[in-house]
C-alpha cells in the first residue's frame, strides 16, 4: 500500500504555466513559439494602437513592429507573476506616448502664431444618434482632423491624461496644451457637424 505524500502540491494556474512555457520557448528562439507569441501580442496590441493612431492608421504597422521588438527584447526581464497581456500593453502605451509627445511637440512649435479661437462661435454637439453610428462618426471626424488635434483629443479623453501631464511629457506649458486642446475641440465640433 502506498502511503499518501505528506506534502500537498497546489497546481499552478494553467494559464500562467502556458505563458511561462511560451516565454521560455520564445527566448530559446523556437520558431513555433515565436509565431504563437506574435499572434497573441498582435491580437492585444492592434485594436489598442489602431484606435489611438487615427487618422494616421498607416503608421500602425511601424509602431507595432517597434512594440513587438521592444517586448521581445525586454522578455528576459518579464516576471511570471505579471500578466503578459498587461505587460505588453504597457509597452504599447509607452511607445504610443513617445509618438504623441513627438508629434504634439513638433506641431505646437509651428502653430504658436495662430490666432486665438473664438469660443463664442463654437457649435455644440446637439445630435442624438445611436451608439454604433456615433462611433463611426467619431472615427470619421477624428480622421478629418489635423493629426495633432486628433492625438491631443485622444490623449486627453481616451487615455485620460491631464493637460498638466501632457505639458510635462511634451515639454510645453500647461497653457499651451490647453490652447491646443481648445483648438482641437473647436475643430472637432465643426467637422462633427459636417461629417
Amino acid at each position: 500500500m502506498v502511503s499518501p505524500s505528506p506534502i500537498e502540491f497546489r497546481e499552478p494556474d494553467s494559464a500562467t504555466n502556458t505563458e511561462t512555457r511560451l516565454i521560455s520557448d520564445v527566448l530559446a528562439k523556437d520558431r513555433k513559439a515565436t509565431a504563437e507569441f506574435v499572434s497573441r501580442c498582435t491580437d492585444w496590441i492592434y485594436p489598442f494602437v489602431r484606435r489611438r493612431l487615427v487618422p494616421r492608421t498607416e503608421l500602425v504597422e511601424d509602431l507595432m513592429q517597434e512594440i513587438l521588438l521592444a517586448a521581445w527584447q525586454a522578455l528576459p526581464g518579464f516576471r511570471a507573476e505579471a500578466d503578459l497581456r498587461s505587460w505588453v500593453l504597457g509597452i504599447a502605451r509607452h511607445k504610443l506616448e513617445d509618438y504623441y509627445r513627438k508629434r504634439i511637440r513638433e506641431y505646437e512649435l509651428a502653430e504658436e502664431s495662430d490666432p486665438e479661437v473664438d469660443l463664442a462661435v463654437m457649435p455644440i454637439l446637439e445630435q442624438q444618434i445611436d451608439s454604433a453610428a456615433q462611433q463611426e462618426q467619431v472615427q470619421k471626424t477624428l480622421s478629418a482632423l489635423p493629426e495633432p488635434y486628433a492625438l491631443v483629443l485622444l490623449w486627453r479623453y481616451r487615455d485620460e491624461k491631464s493637460a498638466r501631464e501632457m505639458a510635462e511629457l511634451t515639454g510645453k506649458t500647461e497653457k499651451a496644451i490647453e490652447r491646443l486642446l481648445a483648438r482641437a475641440r473647436e475643430n472637432f465640433r465643426r467637422r462633427w457637424k459636417n461629417a
Binding site: D43, L68, R185
Partner: protein, 108 residues
C-alpha cells in the same frame, strides 16, 4: 466647462467591438521578429521544436528527418516558402498545411 469635458470624454471613450488584427499583418510581424532573432544566433532546431511539443509542417518534416546535423535544421525555412509570401500579402491566401504558422494566423 465640465459639461464639455464630459461630452468629449463620453464621445471618445473606447467602445464597440475591437477590430481583429489582419492575418497578413501577423505574418509580416512574425517574419520580422524571426529575422531579428536570427541576427543574434541560430534559431532553435526543428528537433528542439518537436521536443518542446510543437508541430512542424510537411516541408520542415522533410528537413527534420534528413540525415544532417543540428545546425542544418536551424535556418528559417519559411524564408523560401511561397506560403510566407502569400500570407504576407493576402489575408486569406490559399494555403492549408498543418502546423504552418502562416496558416494559423488566418485561424486566430
Amino acid at each position: 466647462m465640465p459639461d464639455m469635458e464630459r461630452e468629449f470624454r463620453s464621445l471618445l471613450a473606447e467602445s464597440g467591438e475591437a477590430e481583429p488584427a489582419p492575418s497578413s499583418l501577423k505574418a509580416r510581424l512574425y517574419s520580422m521578429l524571426v529575422h531579428k532573432q536570427q541576427k543574434s544566433g541560430p534559431l532553435a532546431s526543428l528537433d528542439a521544436s518537436l521536443a518542446a511539443g510543437h508541430g512542424i509542417c510537411v516541408f520542415e518534416k522533410l528537413v527534420q528527418i534528413s540525415p544532417v546535423g543540428e545546425r542544418a535544421k536551424s535556418p528559417f525555412f519559411c524564408e523560401v516558402c511561397h506560403a510566407r509570401v502569400l500570407a504576407e500579402h493576402f489575408d486569406h491566401p490559399p494555403i492549408f498545411w498543418d502546423h504552418c504558422p502562416y496558416v494559423k494566423f488566418q485561424e486566430s
